[in-house]
Amino acid sequence: MALPAHVEPLERAWFYTYRFICGLILFFLIAPILIIIPLSFNAGFYLSFSKEMLSLDPAGFSIQWYQDFYNDQKWIDGVKNSFFIAIFAAVISTTLGTIAALGLSRPEMPYRKLIMALLISPMIVPLIVSALGMYFFLVKIGLASTYTGIIVSHAVLGTPFVVITVTATLSGFDQSLIRAGLNLGATPSKVFFKIIMPLILPGVISGALFAFITSFDEVVVINFVGTTVQQTIPQVMFRGLRENISPTILAVATILVGISVALLVTMELLRRRSERLRGMSPT
């Protein structure tokens, strides 16, 4: 969208105004996330920039809030719980979701649209509604306040993402490759691991990452179905934010931003790999 040399002044002015507006919107998107990073290194108990910080005086900065995080048992427990729950939930979501996506993308799948709508619904139903229902139900079957109960409910919330990403990857998948494999004498499991899996792996991994982050970020359902024993990082944050926002929360937030960046980079690499692989396939 470069500007040709011959355009009229009015159009030229609009072009730069438009760029400027876009700049402002992008600033609105990214600035709030970036602003917490310097603030988390605040030396005082402020949630705004102190004079020392603005003049870049080293005395204005410290890592005390990170130490505070590291020395607080409730945060450390939160980290353990978060990873434990999210990893198991993501494994369940990814396994069930990938297998289902394989079925859904076959052309002869019956009631495809209806089933798809049902499987994606956990992503659409408001979390508070899911949380209420899951609480009542898990109490009934005796799984409330257990890790199992939390993991399966998070797995439910993660499956739509896996189904969507894997079916998207499979849409460019040449189904005749499966027949070719079977024709040449491979067993169905060999076909799955040697032909299907390598091709859809980028989609599966990005689905798994979505499922992981869904569970890792989730506060509403776990607030209903869990107890303080299973408290995760977002829950500690949520309870902290409700009372009083402290710089420790900003330190944790900064760490979480770091995790998001790592995930984003992984996703981007996967996307590129997937595009390369698809470029090679005959479709």
Partner: protein, 425 residues
Amino acid sequence: MENTTAPATLVTADGTPLKASLQRALRQRRRQAFMLVLPLLVFIFVLFIMPIATMLTRSVDNPEVNSILPRTVIALQSWDETTGELPSEEVFKTIAAEFVAGSQPGKKVINKVGKRLNYELPGMSSLFRTSTRKIRRMKTGPYREKMINIKIVGKRWADVATWRLLKREGDPVTASYFLSAMDMRVDSKGEIKSKPVDNQIYKFLFVRTFLMSIGITFMTILLGYPIAYLLATLPMRHAALLMILVLLPFWTSLLVRTSAWMVLLGNEGVINDLLVWAGFLGDKSRLALINNRTGTFVAMTHILLPFMILPLYSVMKTIPPSYMRAARSMGATQLRAHIKVYFPLTLTGIGAGTLLVFILAIGYYITPELVGGQSGVFISNQIAGKFDSGNWGLASALGAILFVFVLLLYAVYDKIIGIDKMKLG
């Protein structure tokens, strides 16, 4: 010679008609495909559909009076509530016996009835608590006279409205939670009436949730459209860089983004500090940007913006740039070409983004809870509040209304865009 007559239909090697054989193969393939989906389907059915169904039943479930005062419920059936006369001594005697039975040490369930009826008629909880103590001391009748004469609260036993309520709520299924959720109630004459406007909480909250979600969705279109257009028209290399600015917020924890806005918008926050420092504001006249509607509006617009940009971008990517060039070369101005050619082609993207953002917005809980204060909370927050205070029936009824509403929007999404077209990132 056998097989002198040529077969009317083609057959396979084993003699079955080709058509039947093909059909069997197709059935088998359909079954195979379905078997792959089955595990997840069962998983979702058990752990998602059944929980939702449990919540829906909770919203009409009314076990308290029926299970704790069963004989009273039966005795009240023969009482005609339209005459305005109190039930007979027999009914009083029955309920007194059930008060005693329901207040045995260790099995004190009678107060549950009081708590339940208190949702419908304030004062019932204390009536039940006080009456329990007095009735346990009554050895003989007449119960009607003695119960009416209980100090302070006893006159409520002489009120026909109390008995009407008992009779009505003796039904194991009730509509009263849904009536409350719609700010209606059954008055003392048994008619369904709207509550006085001043007491209407939920209708007001639903309307606010709805209107603010529309506002937020509109804002995301306004901010998202230019960015999606920029991303779709820039050369790939630059676009990929700018895309990171959109995707990073998308991948960042909801709580991180909400706390960022708390830091920015707070009274002592970055924005206010900046405005004071720059001299636009006096130190005393800091802006109230948080714990009100503004807070919810700004933070949610920011959080939901990527959900608008991404679908818009994926539609804009598919529009060939030659369309615009053709329009320009035929004499349209940039603006006219955009409105007449480009914009109509992006409508599916706008539709997808709008519905997605709106569906997500009306169910929001965390962000309004933290930055919304009193005036910026949504219906979800009220549902959580009712749950915490123990009124699970009302929480479920409010949840059910929200659920049905979202389901309708989901159906619209499916109709217009198609659920299988949903994409992420």
